[in-house]
Subunit: 123 residues, 4 copies
Amino acid sequence: MESFDGKLPVYLQVVDLLFTWIVLGQLSPGDQIPTVRKLAADLGVNPNTVQKALQTLEERGIATAVVGRGRFITEDGNLLIEVRDEVITKQVAKFVEKMKIYSLSEAEITQRVHQYIKERMGD
Amino acid sequence: MESFDGKLPVYLQVVDLLFTWIVLGQLSPGDQIPTVRKLAADLGVNPNTVQKALQTLEERGIATAVVGRGRFITEDGNLLIEVRDEVITKQVAKFVEKMKIYSLSEAEITQRVHQYIKERMGD
Amino acid sequence: MESFDGKLPVYLQVVDLLFTWIVLGQLSPGDQIPTVRKLAADLGVNPNTVQKALQTLEERGIATAVVGRGRFITEDGNLLIEVRDEVITKQVAKFVEKMKIYSLSEAEITQRVHQYIKERMGD
Amino acid sequence: MESFDGKLPVYLQVVDLLFTWIVLGQLSPGDQIPTVRKLAADLGVNPNTVQKALQTLEERGIATAVVGRGRFITEDGNLLIEVRDEVITKQVAKFVEKMKIYSLSEAEITQRVHQYIKERMGD
DNA sequence: GTGGTCTAGACCACA
DNA sequence: GTGGTCTAGACCACA
């Protein structure tokens, strides 16, 4: 996984990735999650790291392991909405903070977003 | 350049990086830009790639090369403001498009940004 | 490219050559330009050098690259007329300046050209 | 002599070069011409070729060999004026013919030269 | 030392 | 196959 280079611990990057898959609907309620080995291979990281990431999901009730069957996404829609909200908030935060580093005032930030959307309205 | 892993050609990533330095004020009007060789070494890319990136800046009048002396950022403040605007717009676009992939309506996007800023007001 | 021996950078000599081909009508609007590799082989220069020359043409809108298809001369006749004018002016300038080095006055230069043409009238 | 690549026989190119030196005043009446060996070395051609070129000059009375002393440019000013005229006419011819290849009418050629000079008047 | 050019050769995406 | 990018490494002119 070539782009695993941020400062964030790799296992948390894997958590973020799984969250993103959920938000994008690539992992829906009840879906089976790829096996640890497959994920590890696909992402180019250590299976232990994937294991740790999946445990995080389980602790939050987002995934459940069924011995001998595999791991599955929860059927609990509210939990997934929570995940979705969390992912979006994180992105918004990241964006706003970056804009602040560019010395934009908060008013300017909203104004910029508003303007961009207005200009592109209809796309 | 460890984090150079996007799909964007490396030389355009270098252009983006230099633009960011300008926006952040780490490169001010009249400043000397690090030498081709130094940039190449620091970023872990080939000098030719850096050269190509810097020529892009020159074509836009943002930098000027003086053979035997080095490269310098233009004194023309308007050009730099243009760069700043461009960088910001690109970031806003990236953000908005990502939000749309998450199936947020345009109203929701502005609302989220607005809300985040309001909650953090004072930080 | 045996006769590529001037002080002009090779890639600019290639640009000049392509311009001349356009002026001579050997490259007409819409025509496909020989491939980078063919040009490089024919001229005895490196493909990268040809690439650089062709990019110069593109920046001026004289040629367009279609990845996987090839490069084509613009259909825009005005641009080509511009090229033609530029090539001719460059030749005239070169000629006049050389004549000045030979200590000919400007009046003598025009007189010489005029006389040569008059004597050869009918050729 | 890297630029010895035209279609003209090399010894005639050497003749042309010597003529040019005369026109430019780099070889004045009575001046000693560099030795065959020096010329050959400087121009990167065979001494026999230089020899042949110098014989052409001698046949026209432009240069004289003095055994044991070297070769000298004639003191006869008229002959040198003739050379000058010849060199210039050759250049004019070359220029006009090239312009004709570019499909310029004779009127356009003189017009172009006239215009270029007018625009640059004062340089 | 600094930017500019050039070669040789590789790998990629698009068609 | 075609254009586009990139590396490694060399050589040049200017200062």
